[in-house]
Amino acid sequence: MTNSIGELGTDATAIFLIGTNTTENHPVIGYKIKKNVRENGAKLVVADPRRIDLAEMADVYMQFRPGTDVALLNGMMNVIINEGLMDKEFVENRTEGFEAVKQVVEKYTPEMVSVITGVPAEDIKKAARIYAEAEAGSLCYAMGLTQHTTGTDNVKSACNLAMLTGNLGRPGTGVNPLRGQNNVQGACDMGALPVSYPAYQAVSADANREKFEQAWGVKLSPNNGCTLTAAINKAHHGELKGLYVLGENPVLSDPDSHHVIEALEKLDLLIVQDIFLTETAQLADVVLPGVTWAEKDGTFSNTERRVQRVRKAVSSPGDARQDWEILVDMTNRLGYACSYDSPEDIFEEIRKVTPSYAGITYARIDQTGLHWPCPNEEHPGTPILHAEKFSRGLGLFHAIEFQEAFELPDEEYPLILSTGRSLFHYHTGTMTRKAVALDVHQPENVVQVSPNKAAELGIIDGEKVRLTTRRGSIELKAQVTDILNDQVVFTFFHFSEASANVLTQAEKLDPVAGIPEYKVCAARLEKIV
Amino acid sequence: MAEEQRVILEYADKIDPKKADDYIKVGGYKGLEKARSMDRKALIDEVKKSGLRGRGGAGFNAGMKWSFVPIKDEDRYVVCNFDEGEPGTYKDRIICEKNAQALLEGMAICGAAIASKQGYIYCRGEYPFVVKMLREAIKSAKDSGALGDFDIEVRMGAGAYVCGEETALIESIEGHRGEPRFKPPFPGVAGLWAQPTVVNNVETFACLPYIMTNGADWFAGIGAAKYPGTKVLTLTGDVENATYFEVPTNYMLRDVVYKLGGGVKGGKKFKAVQVGGTSGAFIPEQNLDTQIDFDSMSAIGAALGSGAVFVMDETRDIVDIVTRISKFFEHESCGKCNPCREGTWRCREIMEKINAGKASQKDIDNLMLLSRVMKNAALCGLGQAAPIPIDSTLEHFGYEYSRKIV
């Protein structure tokens, strides 16, 4: 997030949510949005293919066709430019590349966008006006925007919209991705990415590599590594032989599970370090028992870039071992000598090579966490990014044309399938499926289908149905609900018994980010006879 | 002095209260005309000078109340409390049925004083026929042009006694549970929809046209000096003439019972009179020589309240009556604050125990303790006043309790 979570509850005067079911996936952020709308009269615009909880209190709700995000955002920009609502001063002083965007969005009239997205032109206009005219407009998104073959385009379009309206760098504004996992921000910050060292220092840049070579006292590879999804493909082709999986469950979380399982089975060596014998661990050659967050010390960095403490509360069971100790042990066995006394000791090294974390110490975050960038120990942290200038100087507009999703419905697979999370479960369910109350409350997967579609297919609420795509088929209960329209079905990916990722496609990913298109694939829903 | 003095009810049954024209023929809407010709401050001063005090029970100076309303860039409301829920009280209904236009004119005068264009009448849910009549009266007044740009809407209650409390009434108009708010802020500052609001009783509003036409001095010269004007009383219970009367406020209570009321029914002996509604004190024979005005009644530990006069003859069982009253308050407590919600429940339990002859002196002690805490600590007037009948009967009719104690 460019801005902090608290601002959504107090400073934002208009909030535009696209592709985030905030009250289910980031409930506490959802509370703040609701409070701001209810008590301070903040305006709310919701764009989502499902009429989610927050849509009920929105000033404008746009139920758009999955995968048409760029068209919708271009349409809003078209209105803003044509109605003279853009922030000219901001665009002139803080950005570059506007003319190209202006040319592209010119043809995205609300009427034309209405045809693509299914959103009435009048609503597009209203939404554009609310966001553009707001004193402080915050744009929030989550995986609904990113998990597309055009995910990078979608995000860039969102940034265009924010820059066009000057909704950046001030309290209550910003482009705010709501990140789905407790430490996804930290994992990226720490360089658990194939292209960068800690703090996004590109591995391909010689200066960075030299810096780390010096810090670590070893020669480093100049080549970008492969992404998670590419690694699975490489394993499939036999190019990847060994895989070490730490606390992940790609069998359930990655697209096209059959493909993933085949790939993992082809490996010479699969090491899995986890707390449970997950679906992935079951395929491993060696399983290393780590510990839960309740059994370890360390830090997590949340979606607003706040680095906070994690504290050991209880001992770990049996021979399970601290994850950091396992990694240090393994590193030494692989011939690189290193030793640390504690997680804090590791953090001290992190500070030295991670400029944005340099000012953060365990002592400073003992009570309240700090937002990075925090370059020195006197620095108070940075809740709001881009206040004076962007990290590259001027903000860069990207002119983006709308492209359809990779797999569109056809006669054989006439529905659009989107997948996502439920309030009551988390990711692959490794933890929540073993949390008794959560699993009792929501013990199995469902597929959400509109009343019309259900009636057409002769399906009643709660009935077991078959959901099929070109990759595979699962059987699960139907949940008949009017929150989605007749062309869309939705299911959750937490349940191994009816795993959504059996259905999703791994063939075409976002070309830049490598993100799979979980929000759109063609599917068929059938009554089981 | 043993005659009625009719001001508000002067033309009762002589004009059609639904018709503005009838009212105008007998001098109606002249007061509003005058009020509108005056400077706001002068208007409020005039009302202050008349000494008009609230007829709903609290007896607050009306002009003073209005003067607290801040005039800023926001809406203001005039609300008429017509949630006449006190058992034995029906004077507001009589005023509406006989002279509804005076109420409307009074509200509009208040509107002129606080620069408000919108009035609400919150009418008791048990009076649907009056609501119908009021709506016709409003239409007629609007059609005649007499009200000008002042609008009045009638809202109905749903049978909760507590909604007679002004803040609970406001909550109810807003569509919430009828529960009182804490004060401050008073409605004058933050009332309906959190805007400045004047809440007055039907009778208070109905006095205003006559104050404006006849002058503040005229009104101040009627009745008791500190609570001037007339008061409409409703007589119930063991009295020959159980009906309504309008009298000057220096009228004697004994005269209410014996002259207007025609004395105790059937020639029986007088035992007690309860004035002001269910939460009023029980007044014994020895205190009958008291003026009915607010301050004189307070001096004997009673209250003029709504002006209900409930007469009890020698055969009445005071403890039984108070037990019934305690049931009423148990039923009508809104349940918001602890002292009232729990206290009215336990009062009723103890009263029933006493009435059934199963209580001891300890129960009486507990009852008195409970009563004291309810008066001291309850959130609104309902809880604070609910124990008054108990206290006053323990004081004046203690022997009736003693007889039932084991």
């Binding site: 996804v184 032989k241 949340n302 479960h425 | 729990e342 409970l370």
Partner: protein
């Protein structure tokens, strides 16, 4: 600034200060049930009443704005009498079940009865009949213990925005209820448990923690939630080296993101920690079957195989999936291991999934 005398002590407060806050500044410890600094004022429990000179009635200090020259007494005979009677009235309706009550030690009713020496109620009579069965697996609703402070109602509306519960009926029949007095699961409840967080007595408790330990038996360890990226802080309740529950600290210093508010997963989704299915020993697969192994053996096995692959097929034939669920320190070590020890940049995690 306004000048007041509180319990004989003169203090100054800014205009708009409530009497409760002024009394606290003067060092007075005023009992409250319905007051909650984060919620709209109710002014209904009347426990915070104080005596102000010249006022006929006692004033509820939480809803009374300070006025200049007020002379206030917070523990006068009248206030003590009122508080004792209120406590006795609440005891008369309350299901007194302290032997087994989850809230012992954190129960305000218990604390205040102790403070004011209230052993039993002079007003004991009929009890309330509010008990109900609610089969949801998260929140135990025992309204026979409810004292009608309505903090749950206000928290549900003002913190979570769920508006699942409100007051139904009136007088002493008044109770906390969902629409049509049904189950929480049939209401707009999202099982965040904010109602448990604010409940001052044992009326609302966690079913997941039931019978596992009471507040004086457990320590609280402040940590950051393991689920979504919001980064809520919470307290793990630890008794005998076991997590027995989750509570939260509402002070923004310790809970900057959420001020104590949590969601259903954060508050009720912790018991997997002690799941019998946890891995407790390294495993090596032989002939398609796992067998337990020592750490030495498992680590040797893994390291040797990795080294062999590296030697044979080069460092880029090895990859690592690090994790968005482990700590920064562990992510740092994971990428360092791959880059420094293996010699590849093939490290990623599930950020995209």
């Amino acid at each position: 600034m306004l000048k007041l005398t509180i319990n004989g002590q003169e203090i100054e407060v800014p205009k708009g200060t409530m009497l409760l806050s002024a009394c606290q500044q003067a060092g007075a410890d005023i009992p409250t049930f319905c007051y909650d600094p984060d919620l709209k004022l109710a002014g209904s429990c009347r426990m915070c009443v104080v005596e102000v000179e010249g006022r006929r009635n006692l004033l509820a200090s939480c809803v009374t704005p300070c006025e200049n020259n007020m002379v206030v007494s917070t523990e006068s005979d009248r206030t003590t009498e009122a508080r004792k009677v209120i406590l006795e009235l609440l005891l008369a309706r309350h299901k007194v079940e302290c032997m087994t009550c989850e809230k012992v030690g954190m129960c305000k009713l218990q604390d205040y009865c102790y403070r004011y020496g209230v052993k039993d109620s002079r007003f004991a009579g009929e009890k309330g009949h509010f008990a109900m069965e609610d089969p949801n697996p998260f929140i135990e609703r025992d309204y026979d213990k409810c004292i009608m402070c309505t903090r749950c109602v206000r928290a549900c509306e003002e913190i979570t925005g769920a508006q699942a519960i409100n007051v139904k009926e009136r007088g002493h029949h008044a109770k906390i209820s969902t629409i049509f007095d049904g189950k929480l699961a049939d209401s707009t409840c999202v099982f965040c448990g904010q109602c448990i967080m604010v409940c001052p007595v044992g009326a609302l408790t966690s079913k997941v923690s039931m019978g596992k330990g009471r507040s004086m038996e457990y320590d609280r360890v402040l940590t950051t939630c393991t689920y979504c990226g919001t980064g809520c802080t919470l307290e793990l309740n630890v008794k005998d080296d076991q997590v027995v529950g989750v509570t939260s600290n509402r002070d923004a210093t310790y809970s900057p993101v959420n001020k104590g508010a949590l969601c259903v997963k954060g508050r009720f989704g912790w018991d997997f920690i002690h799941s019998p299915e946890r891995l407790t020993t390294p495993l090596i697969k032989e002939n398609g079957q796992f067998r337990p192994a020592s750490w030495e053996e498992a680590m040797d096995f893994a390291a040797n195989k990795l080294k062999a692959i590296k030697e044979k097929d080069g460092p880029d034939s090895i990859a690592m999936f690090s994790s968005a669920r482990v700590t920064n320190e562990e992510n740092y070590l994971a990428q360092k291991m791959m880059r420094a020890a293996i010699g590849t940049n093939n490290v990623d995690h599930c950020a995209r999934l």
